[in-house]
């Protein structure tokens, strides 16, 4: 096994753990995050690439493996140019063999490396379910604390646009049910970079959920290195009428809804959870104490979804503050359809969110 000391970003510190010889790095959490405002406008996919490249430059144990990541320059161009910089020993093309390479990554992590495994789509992770649900999250526990699994699995989650039933999975409801993993789900390029860098340093397995529909989104992303802590929601709009809770791509619909509702005199709080595990329920409860109303927007199916969990915890911890039953906006409870009109009706949308908020405040 490898016992190489973990490289630490400037100002950070090394933390020991018996299951990880060489320890793990904690960034300097006291350093304030850089401004979200600025003119360094890049795409979501470039923000992801920056995060991976920065960590790979510091830590030679980090490698990227997945379908088409190297010579093809990434099926979605996230890893464009990385083969040239890091070479074929660290940017590794894999055959279409998710169960095989997910398990390969898991044991490479046990051995002492820091793998980043790319699923072209999280839909394809289902054939690797035994490795990512049975082995990865349980390794530390079933070895009685002898072996951790510091690995990042990342890729596109959610409906990509008329891809039909099997290619449009939103896996967060399914995987959030399993203890032993952390799940991050950014909604914008700024968070994509900061959360992915945190995921790579984290000593536990992290499932990192991106969206094909957001990879081309452009926004300011600071050039400097920064880490966004897990378990801290971002309050993106402020208002007293209702709380909107979401994560991942639908956060953008919530912002559109909030702007439209503001025109009607309805000001809402918008909370971008940013990570599902850990889940920042403290921020949700704090907000509900002011708004007394909540709508949870989630692109999973409704039954046993992340939204169900958020609503349950709201009832458990904030029931007395509610003036209206919690409302959830999920995808419709059917397989993902192909036709444009059907898919649009299936997904959470700005219109459905606006209607839900009106219903809650009405």
């Amino acid at each position: 096994m490898l016992t190489m000391t973990s490289p630490v970003p400037p100002g950070g510190q090394l933390v020991d753990h018996p299951a990880l010889p060489g320890g793990y790095a904690e960034p300097d959490w006291s350093k304030p995050l850089p401004s979200r405002e600025g003119d360094r406008v890049i795409q979501f996919r470039e923000a992801l690439r920056e995060a991976i490249s920065e960590e790979m430059r510091r830590d030679e144990r980090v490698f990227l493996l997945g379908e088409e990541v190297a010579e093809y320059n990434g099926a979605y161009k996230v890893s464009q140019g990385m083969l040239d910089e890091f070479g074929p020993k660290r940017i590794i093309d894999s055959p279409i063999s998710e169960n095989g390479f997910a398990g390969l990554g898991a044991a490479a992590a046990m051995y002492g490396l820091r793998p980043i495994i790319e699923f072209m789509s999280w839909s394809f992770s289902l054939v690797a379910a035994d490795q990512i649900m049975n082995n990865v999250p349980k390794m530390l526990y079933m070895s009685g604390g002898q072996w951790g699994c510091p690995i990042v699995f990342r890729g596109n989650d959610g409906a990509g646009g008329q891809l039909g039933s099997t290619h449009s999975w939103t896996v967060e409801g399914l995987y959030a049910n399993v203890p032993g993993v952390k799940i991050a789900i950014p909604s914008c390029p700024y968070d994509a970079k900061g959360l992915l860098k945190t995921a790579i340093l984290d000593p536990d397995p992290v499932f990192f959920l991106e969206s094909e529909r957001m990879l081309g989104d452009k926004a300011h992303v600071p050039e400097e290195e920064y880490y966004i802590p897990f378990g801290q929601a971002a309050r993106l709009r402020e208002g007293d009428a209702c709380t909107l809770v979401s994560f991942g791509r639908p956060v953008n619909f919530c912002l559109e809804a909030a702007d439209a509702l503001a025109g009607e005199g309805i000001d809402v709080d918008v909370l971008d959870m940013r990570t599902i595990r850990p889940l920042d329920m403290n921020s949700v409860i704090e907000s509900i104490k002011r708004t007394n109303r909540v709508v949870v927007v989630d692109q999973c199916w409704p039954f046993g979804s992340v939204a169900s969990e958020v609503v349950t915890q709201i009832i458990e911890r904030g029931f007395d503050w509610l003036d209206h039953p919690p409302v959830r906006v999920n995808t419709e409870d059917v397989p993902t359809p192909y036709a444009k009109q059907l898919e649009a009706a299936y997904l959470p949308s700005t219109e459905r969110i606006i209607a839900a908020v009106r219903g809650a405040v009405g």
């Binding site: 490898l2 018996p18 898991a106 530390l140 079933m142």
Partner: protein, 364 residues
């Protein structure tokens, strides 16, 4: 454990060069596994061990001969019939037995059980419960070891051993793992402990072309050999050159290691699918008796009295392990139920409780 005297003479067996001490060590290790499993069955029948429990008796020459052919820091991973590999790798009988008794002093602090023997200081990356699930992991250990010297410049060339039963031949995971191992040049040897049965289904009924299993490895460009797993010296003679080759060339290997289990698939198996005569026939070739006869008659390394005292010593060691397991503390749910879930617990991870750092594992 393996100690070679000199280079073998031309035409001689590779194992001729093994020292008497090494052979006695192997004999001891095989007898320890046999005795350990006998007491395991007793404890299971007394309901002191729960869950699924798979007995290794009969297969001892497989674990001892193959593990005796690699270095101590070569990674090893196996399936759920894992007590033999754990003991052959050097886990104490106490830690192994205490794990099955579900005690804090067990190798996984009582969180794993019979199917999950992990031993970090002895480079054993687990017993794994789902058939075939360990085969991609075996490729990953080899990947890690190769990356370490090739990219990081740390350590030397290693070979990983990944054990599986013949039942796992039918799992897709193995085929994906072999393809990756060959494609990426991963030094992992897939050791099929072919005991002829996938649970209760005989090999001819569960896998195609079962008489030529190595042809499957050949299909992936992997060198495959058949080995009689009932003779530990033969296992070494045939397996060690493959280990050397895979280490040197950083290539995968495949072994159809023919063996037999004396007990049922698990403790709950009534064994209706085979006859008592069949079992007895195999027992006549018993691997421990064969090795004993060799070290006694050919080597003169042990006599009847020496063997008796070795058996007695082992018996006491195992009884002590049972006693230890019985009297050891059960894990305390207040500290252990929610520990070892995460290396870095955080607020908000679970609605039902806060994850903790539990007591340090007794092996590390």
């Amino acid at each position: 454990m393996t100690d070679v005297k000199t280079k073998p003479a031309k035409g001689a067996r590779l194992s001729d060069a093994l020292t008497d001490d090494t052979l006695l060590q192997w004999l001891r290790s095989m007898q320890l596994i046999r005795e350990f499993e006998t007491r395991t069955m007793q404890a299971y029948q007394q309901a002191k061990i729960g869950g699924f429990c798979h007995i290794y008796s009969g297969q001892e020459a497989c674990a001892v001969g193959t593990i005796g052919s690699v270095n101590h820091d070569d990674p090893v991973i196996t399936a759920y019939r894992d007590h033999g590999h754990a003991l052959a790798r050097g886990m104490s009988a106490k830690a192994c037995m205490a794990e099955m008794f579900g005690k804090q002093a067990g190798c996984a602090k009582g969180k794993g059980g019979s199917m999950h023997m992990f031993d970090r200081p002895n480079h054993l990356y687990g017993g794994h419960g789902i058939v075939g699930a360990q085969t991609p992991l075996g490729a990953g250990l080899a990947f890690g070891a190769r990356y370490a010297w090739e990219v990081l410049g740390v350590g030397e060339k290693k070979v990983s051993l990944c054990y599986l039963g013949d039942g796992a031949l039918d799992q897709g995971a193995l085929h994906e793992a072999q393809n990756l191992a060959s494609l990426f040049g991963l030094p992992v040897i897939y050791v099929v402990e072919n005991n002829g049965y996938s649970m209760g289904t005989a090999i001819g009924r569960h896998t195609a072309n079962h008489e030529r299993l190595t042809s499957r490895a050949a299909g992936y460009g992997i060198k495959g050999i058949e080995i009689d797993g009932f003779d530990v010296l033969n296992v070494y003679d045939e397996f060690k050159p493959l280990v050397d080759e895979c280490r040197d060339l950083q290539r995968p290997g495949f072994v159809d290691l023919k063996t037999y289990r004396y007990q049922g698939h698990s403790m709950s198996d009534p064994q209706k699918y085979r006859t008592k005569d069949e079992v007895e026939q195999w027992k006549e070739r018993d691997s421990i008796a064969a090795l004993l006869s060799y070290v006694m008659s050919e080597r003169g390394a042990i006599d009847e009295d020496g063997w008796k005292s070795m058996q007695q010593e082992i018996k006491e060691e195992v009884l002590e392990a049972v006693d230890f397991a019985e009297n050891a503390e059960a894990p305390d749910p207040a500290t252990e139920l929610y520990s070892d879930v995460l290396i870095k617990p955080m607020e908000g991870m679970s609605p039902s409780g806060a994850y903790l750092h539990g007591e340090r594992n007794p092996l590390i």
